[in-house]
């Protein structure tokens, strides 16, 4: 099993969830119009991703495996995440109003964020133990946040730039993302990671 530091680096940069693995694209393009909203979304994602990784890992290893119910993995994981998000939202709304206004609005969006469900699957497929799974989730979440904030910064400037009408909006954003992805490809091979 790889050591946690390598797993973190891999998840954060080399195999960046958005630019390399193509997960979490909908919020990536949807919530990156301003740096402030991007930060809020990033925080929410890190929080939910780590919690989701913990709970699904426990569910898989203590419920699905022992009872031979592995085929219920997809259904159970998505329901767990949906419920988790619901609960977190209610909890924040009631006890941490400030935090809720900062990131609470993004929470419902996170349920269908394929990044969250994606890493819960990857945790199992990569056969990570609990610690490595946690590191993987946090690294991925931070990678997502890094990328979405950077992208938001780029888009804020793009909005003010003179751009051909048919390129405005999505197209130029995609092309910007392509360049970012190209940059991140450069991390391939870092410390022997692909």
């Amino acid at each position: 099993m790889k050591n946690p530091a390598l797993i973190f680096l891999g998840a954060f940069l080399v195999n960046n969830i958005v630019l390399m693995r193509f997960l979490g694209l909908c919020p990536f393009f949807g919530v990156s119009t301003a740096v402030e909203t991007a930060t809020g979304m990033g925080m929410a994602v890190i929080f939910v991703m780590t919690l989701a990784a913990w709970i699904t890992w426990l569910v898989f290893h203590f419920v699905l495996l022992p009872f031979n119910l592995v085929f219920l993995r997809t259904a159970l994981f998505i329901l767990t995440i949906a419920s988790l998000v619901q609960l977190v939202e209610m909890f924040l709304k009631k006890y941490y109003r400030a935090l809720y206004s900062a990131m609470g609005i993004y929470l419902p969006l996170i349920t269908t964020n394929c990044a969250i469900l994606g890493i819960t699957f990857l945790n199992i497929d990569n056969k990570f133990n609990f610690l490595n799974g946690t590191v993987f989730a946090i690294g991925t979440g931070l990678g997502f946040t890094l990328v979405i904030i950077t992208f938001a910064a780029i888009r804020e400037r793009l909005d003010l730039a003179p751009i051909n009408p048919s390129l405005r909006g999505y197209p130029i954003s995609f092309i910007a993302a392509a360049l970012m992805a190209l940059a991140f490809l450069g991390f391939s091979g870092l410390f022997g990671l692909t």
Partner: protein
Amino acid sequence: MRRWHIFTRGLVKENAVLILMIGLCPALAVSGTVRDAFGMGLAATFVLFFSNVIIALIRKSVPNEVRIPIFILIISTFVTMIDYFMQAFQPDLYRALGVFVPLIVVNCMILGRAEAFASKNSVINAALDGLGVGIGFTLALTIMGSIREILGNGTFLGTTVFGEAFRKTPVIFMILSPGAFLVIGILKALINKYVKKE
């Protein structure tokens, strides 16, 4: 003509990937080759079609407050089905699509149609809607897959297109991650320019 309209709507005018910009994750991730793109499209269409049908079938018996969990249950059942069927009958495709097969369950396209249409319409209409959106999705993916495979690998569905010389030095960039973003960006730009808005 209403029925026909329901079917064609998802094909072009409200194409999930190219117009509405949803379902992007699989669109970019598995469109490296035509086979993968087409396979993913079919798998997603399978799930969309059947979940639309079932949801439309039971729509009157589903209490409003719990409708989302129930939709998710139904959708994930069909996703798990296609997951295991693919493992059994198309293992190569399954290995290529990887984690994106079970991720069909969070494809916003599917839950979106369930909530917006299937839960409020007849079974036949829901079926047509599912087919239309699904085929539209498959179409978009296949177009991207074709561009990326032809330029990035010199092949189409495995058969060489531009001759062996091109195969030795294709535009590898296209098959890798940045290529996906570039292709969809340019496609979208072309659509913006040449497709009249209504």
